[in-house]
């Protein structure tokens, strides 16, 4: 699964994207965040407060309970501050 990160999430993880092999038990966006937190200190820190993290599946906003089945790109980012 391709995962992309933006803004301070990208900075804290020191990567803009990565390809990961998700275990089959990971079914929702919330599960992905939980699973990422097990991957090291920088992930734990970055995903410490899931409330300030937004997610998208294939470039569409989704909630933490959204299923990831069929997704080809998952994105995590802070609340948006454009305009």
């Amino acid at each position: 699964m391709k995962i992309v990160y933006f803004a301070w999430l990208r900075e804290r993880l020191d990567k803009a994207e990565e390809d990961v092999e998700l275990p089959s038990s990971v079914e929702t966006i919330g599960d992905v965040m939980q699973w990422l937190k097990t991957r090291g200190e920088e992930y734990e820190l970055a995903f410490d407060n899931p409330k300030v993290i937004r997610a998208a599946i294939d470039k569409t906003h989704v909630r933490p309970e959204a299923k990831i089945a069929g997704a080809s790109e998952i994105a995590f980012f802070p609340p948006m501050t454009g305009g």
Partner: protein, 152 residues
């Protein structure tokens, strides 16, 4: 609607050309509203020397387009244009430009505000400040979330 533009650019925005394109889109245009969001010289009281705008390519355009589409369904728009800049932007420069055209002023005003309110809260752009001795990501504003209430 004859004219519809959504564009993300690294370059300075030519508001005159954008406004002209919307104004001359055809139909019976009687009202054109433009909004320019400008980089301020300070952010939460601290002087800044520039903003750095990051975006999610593909999704940013898609999100803006979907809200332009929703605006078209709510108001009789004859044209709309949204241009958002990314990269380094100095105080006084335009970050985002929206132009809407309709036969009458109410639709043009409402649609421009609607597009801006949704752009602020749902289009994937992020601001980082430069200057004041430190760099920091700008926090999202609750006021922007609240602004959506009236469109619901």
């Amino acid at each position: 609607m004859s004219g519809e533009t959504v564009r993300i650019t690294l370059d300075a925005i030519d508001t005159k050309a954008e406004t002209k394109a919307v104004s001359k889109a055809g139909g019976n245009i009687g009202a054109v509203v433009t909004f320019s969001g400008i980089c301020r010289a300070d952010e939460k009281g601290e002087k800044i020397s520039a903003l750095h705008l990051e975006h999610y390519p593909g999704m940013a355009e898609k999100e803006i387009e979907s809200h332009v589409e929703k605006a078209k369904q709510r108001w009789p728009l004859l044209a709309a244009s949204v241009v958002h800049r990314v990269g380094r932007i100095e105080p006084g420069e335009i970050i985002v430009f929206v132009a809407t055209a309709s036969a009458h002023r109410e639709a043009a005003f409402q649609a421009a505000e609607f597009i801006m309110d949704y752009l602020k809260t749902s289009a994937p752009f992020w601001k980082r400040t430069e200057g004041g001795g430190r760099e920091a990501w700008v926090d999202a504003s609750e006021k922007d979330e609240d602004a959506l209430e009236r469109w619901k």
